[in-house]
Subunit: 365 residues, 2 copies
């Protein structure tokens, strides 16, 4: 299924019209990619919403000469201008007295000041997060890419384990590099973020960068990694025990596993994000380990590895049908080791759709 950028722009136009805005100047490159398919490193997009009929004709993307060919290929359905200072170029062409929203969560103080001088007769309105709000709900094209990204990660992990990649004596860094190479072998366009491989006491550090630390029998090894396909990111964590599992490891693992299941079960359209976090957190708190669950439960995932909605204790808002999110509780025992289990899922009326399919049963490798 091809991406339907026109429908996304139409949805944005409706959001703008409901706020009495004539246009949005999009300068966040990820939002530009979402709305047009353009993947260059410099662009601005003016989405016109003055009326439904002519909006598409008056919408224009601007990029520089390096992307002359690319913008024609990737965005055949919009008018393109070529100029180095993309945003300034579009600002200068604004009709007098129009009300133009700027992405105030992205636009810097300096940009706002400079652009205000370029368009003294337009009303520049700081409006944060309009496109990010649309991006929370994934269309089927996007879910397809997320599925492909998660599949590449699942396959890579399966092959890593099958070929004995998690054996004692290897370093965290070696394991990370092999897992990343395997994701590319299994169809990833890139990796979502630097792979976390954390073994032994390092597994108690939530965001540990791989080091020369050696994997040893009896230790936890925690892998947090993801693949990128067509711009969409997967995110998954699995924690293994090497050679033999001690009772305390089985206990911690079982606790996190139950918490993660409670979090997944709480995912449904309309659920308060703080309640979803609470469902998973309560399991860990009730076991007396609440202080050791050091972070929020999860986050939205899509064109960015971290995007809306955040799922945390202090989070506000509810989950929408079609949101793609992670569920990733963890318990970290400083100096001994930690366990995190994380899936990527899509929120659905009929129950969450699990995209990361690797087993979560305790596995001794």
């Amino acid at each position: 299924m091809p991406a339907d950028h026109g429908s996304r722009r139409a949805a944005l136009r409706a959001a703008l019209a409901s706020r009495d805005l004539d246009a949005l100047l999009v300068t966040n490159l990820t939002n530009i990619r979402y709305l047009t398919g353009f993947t260059g490193s410099n662009a601005a997009l003016l989405v016109d919403a003055t009326d439904d009929e002519g909006g598409e004709e008056r919408t224009v993307i601007c990029t520089d000469g390096r992307y002359l060919t690319q913008v024609g290929e990737q965005v055949p359905d919009l008018r393109a201008e070529i100029a180095r200072a993309s945003a300034a170029t579009l600002i200068k062409s604004l009709p007098t007295a129009s009300a133009v929203a700027l992405e105030s969560h992205v636009v810097t103080v300096d940009e706002f000041a400079a652009w205000s001088l370029l368009a003294p007769d337009a009303r520049l309105d700081p409006v944060p997060g309009l496109v990010e709000e649309l991006r929370m709900v994934k269309d089927e094209h996007e879910v397809g890419l997320l599925r492909a990204a998660c599949a590449a990660a699942d396959s890579a992990l399966a092959e890593l384990i099958a070929r004995g990649g998690l054996r004692p004596g290897r370093t965290e860094r070696e394991v990370g590099r092999e897992l990343e190479a395997l994701m590319l072998d299994h169809g990833a366009d890139g990796i979502s973020f630097e792979t976390i491989v954390a073994t032994g006491a390092n597994s108690a550090i939530p965001h540990h960068r791989p080091t020369g630390t050696v994997l040893r029998g009896g230790d936890f090894v925690k892998l947090d990694f993801g693949a990128e396909v067509g711009g969409y990111h997967s995110d998954m964590t699995r924690t293994y025990v090497l050679e033999r599992a001690a009772d305390w490891q089985r206990d911690v693992y079982a606790l996190v596993e139950r918490s993660q299941k409670a979090g997944r079960d709480a995912l449904r359209p309309g659920a308060e994000v703080s309640a979803v976090d609470g469902a998973a957190r309560r399991v860990i708190e009730d076991a007396g380990y609440g202080e050791l669950f050091l972070h929020g439960l999860g986050h939205g995932v899509g064109l960015e590895i971290h995007e809306a909605p955040g799922i945390g204790k202090q989070g506000t808002g509810t989950l929408l049908d079609g949101a793609a999110v992670t569920v990733e509780p963890g318990v970290y025992i400083s100096g001994r080791g930690g366990v995190r289990i994380e899936d990527t899922l899509v929120v659905r009326e009929r129950g969450p759709e699990l995209l990361t399919l690797t087993t979560k049963d305790l596995t001794v490798v």
Copy 2:
């Protein structure tokens, strides 16, 4: 040689004092790394400059609980606070009536509005680029890391060629992956950016992403890549011909080679950046190919792959002693092929210090 973050903060304090500013709230994470060594993903730093003596004691870094251990290890010489909303926490503690600079090229419109409410009695001054200006001149610690990064890239390229990695029949993507893996083998902590491998007609696209296109005898293959060591980035481009070089390829190559040498020769402290660009560009223009040199001559490089100073036609300002920059002219003949040659160098009184040592003689592989 260890990094001397204290001296960097002292230089910043002098810059602040000369502008009658009491402090700078640093929120750009790269600038925080430069000033403190902290590498976490969330932090704010308030550099106090009210007087030389007590400034260091009143300077404070704030990060969240995930980095409790890390901030103590990486920044033992400064007071640390732990809070999720790092910048807001520091803003709230500002003394009444102090003049605090904000990094207005980084701070968003939304952040500025929110922070202004948190500190109604302080004067928040938008001041762009203070730390970036200091970062232009590299100290010996930084040059050491740049040298190591460039060496990793040089060694990786040498091994790629020695093992026949640039042979006809391979795809751009295969070559890119191998070169990236070799950089890690040769001591890189990471790669600077996604490696460009562009062969045949693709070599005429300045920023081509590697595809399944197959290397063929008689074609150009252009490699633009870099290694990262300790946060510092190398940047190098070499263009090869596969198996046999045609006369037009030798001519284009020789032209770009001469242009690149002219650009390197123009690097000296005090040179106008537009004049450096002009020195290289003139060679290509005089040969009648000016229209085919589609971009600026180069850019600063360090903790970011692209940083100040830009070296382009419209650039302003002069090169400083100790600036690290790239020199990378190119000629791109659409549909046929292109050549770019790029080095990373340090501007020195005695003449530029070349960090990327791989030969630039036309090499047929």
